[in-house]
Symmetry: C2
Subunit: 222 residues, 2 copies
C-alpha cells in the first residue's frame, strides 16, 4: 500500500470522526447554555457563538432549536444511564453505594448535562423532553428496586425511594454549587440517608419492615 | 339613599370584582395547562379555550403568553408562601409538622399550581421564572432554619435541609398522582424523615450533633 493510497482510504473515516466531534461540540455548548437558562431563552445564535460555529452549521446538524435541545438532553441522559447498569449480585447496600459513586462520576464529569436534565423538574411532563427526564428517574427507580429485590413496591416504599432519588439529585446540584463536602463523604451520607429512610418506612409498612430486616441481615450478618 | 342610587354606587365594585374573578379564572386555566405541559407547548389559544374566553381577552388581561405564565406562577407561589408564615415559639418539630400540614393543604387545594411550580425543577434557574421557583424553596429553607434556630447552617446541614425539601416536593407530587397513603400518615412520615436525616447528619457534623441533641431535649424532655 502506498502512503498516498493509505491517506485516501483514511479520509472518509477522519471526516466522519470530525463530523461526530463537531456535533458533540455543538451539543456540549448547548448543554452548557441549557443548564443555566430556560430553553426559551436560548437561541441558535447563542449556541453557535458559544461553540465558535456558524448559525447555518447548527441548523445543518440539528434542524432547529427544539431538535438540538432534545438531542442534547438525550445525549446527557444516555451518558448517565450508561453508568447505571445493574451490578451483579453484590449485597444490596454495597450495590447502591457503587451505583451512587457512578452517578456522582457523571455529576462531576458532566455538570452541565446534569443541571440541564434537572431543569426538567420533578413534575410529570408530557412530550419528548418529559420522556427523557422521567426516563432517567424511572431507570434509577427500577435499578434500586432490583438491587433491593423488590417486585411490587408498596405505596410507602415507592414514596420513600422517589423521595430519596429527589434528595440525591438535589444533593448533586448543591455539591456542584458549593463543593464544600468531600464527594466520598457526601456519597456515604446519602447511603446512610437511604438506610435511615427505610428505617422510618419500616415503622409504617410491614413490607418495608421485612425488606429492611432482610437488608440488615444481609449487610451486617443476620 | 334610593335603591337606584345604591345600585349605581355598587356597579364599579361589582365590575372590579368580576374583572378580578375573570383574571383569576384565566390564571387557573393557565396553571392547569402549565402543570401538565411545558410552557412552550401551551398557546394563548389553549388557555382561552380552556377558560371559555376569547384569545383577545387573554391578551387584554396579560399582554402575552410569557406574562401570563409569570403571573400564574407568581400567584401560585404567593398562595403557597402565604401559608408558610413562621409559627410563634412552639417546639421546633411541632412547628415543622404544622408547617408541613399547611404545605400539604396547598398541595391538595391547588394541585395544578403546585405541579406547575415544580415543573420549574431543582436546577438553579436564571430569569423571572427561576426567581419565582427558587424564591419558594428559599423561603421554605429559611423558615425551617428559623424553626430550628440555626443562623449559619453548616454544609452538611444545608445539604440535609435541601434534600429534605426536595423529598417533600416529590412526596407531594407522588401523593397527588396516587393518593394511596392517608395525608396525615404521609405528613407524619415526612417529619420522621427529617428527624432521621438530622440523626444521620449528626454523625457527620458537630454542629448538627448539637442541634439534634437540642431538638431531642426540647421535644422529648432533656
Amino acid at each position: 500500500m502506498t502512503p498516498g493510497k493509505s491517506a485516501e482510504a483514511a479520509r472518509p473515516a477522519r471526516r466522519r470522526l470530525s463530523v461526530d466531534r463537531r456535533r458533540e461540540e455543538l451539543m456540549a455548548a448547548a448543554l452548557e447554555l441549557f443548564s443555566k437558562h430556560d430553553a426559551e431563552d436560548v437561541s441558535i445564535d447563542d449556541v453557535a457563538s458559544a461553540a465558535g460555529a456558524s448559525r447555518a452549521l447548527v441548523y445543518h446538524y440539528f434542524g432547529g432549536k427544539q431538535e438540538l435541545y432534545v438531542a442534547a438532553l438525550k445525549s446527557a441522559a444516555e451518558q448517565l444511564e450508561s453508568r447505571l447498569r445493574p451490578d451483579q449480585g453484590g449485597r444490596p447496600l454495597d450495590d447502591l453505594a457503587a451505583g451512587l459513586g457512578r452517578y456522582f462520576d457523571f455529576v462531576e464529569e458532566h455538570a452541565a448535562g446534569f443541571a440541564a436534565l434537572l431543569r426538567g423538574g420533578p413534575a410529570n411532563r408530557a412530550g419528548e423532553i418529559g420522556e427523557i427526564v422521567d426516563g432517567v428517574r424511572q431507570r434509577l427507580f427500577r435499578l434500586i428496586q432490583k438491587q433491593m429485590r423488590v417486585e411490587h413496591p408498596s405505596p410507602v416504599l415507592r414514596t420513600t425511594l422517589r423521595s430519596w432519588i429527589a434528595s440525591v439529585e438535589t444533593a448533586g446540584l448543591d455539591w456542584l454549587e458549593h463543593r464544600d463536602i468531600e464527594r466520598p463523604v457526601l456519597e456515604k451520607m446519602l447511603v446512610d440517608h437511604m438506610i435511615a429512610l427505610l428505617g422510618v418506612a419500616a415503622e409504617y409498612d410491614g413490607d418495608v419492615r421485612s425488606l429492611f430486616e432482610g437488608l440488615a441481615a444481609e449487610q451486617f450478618g443476620g
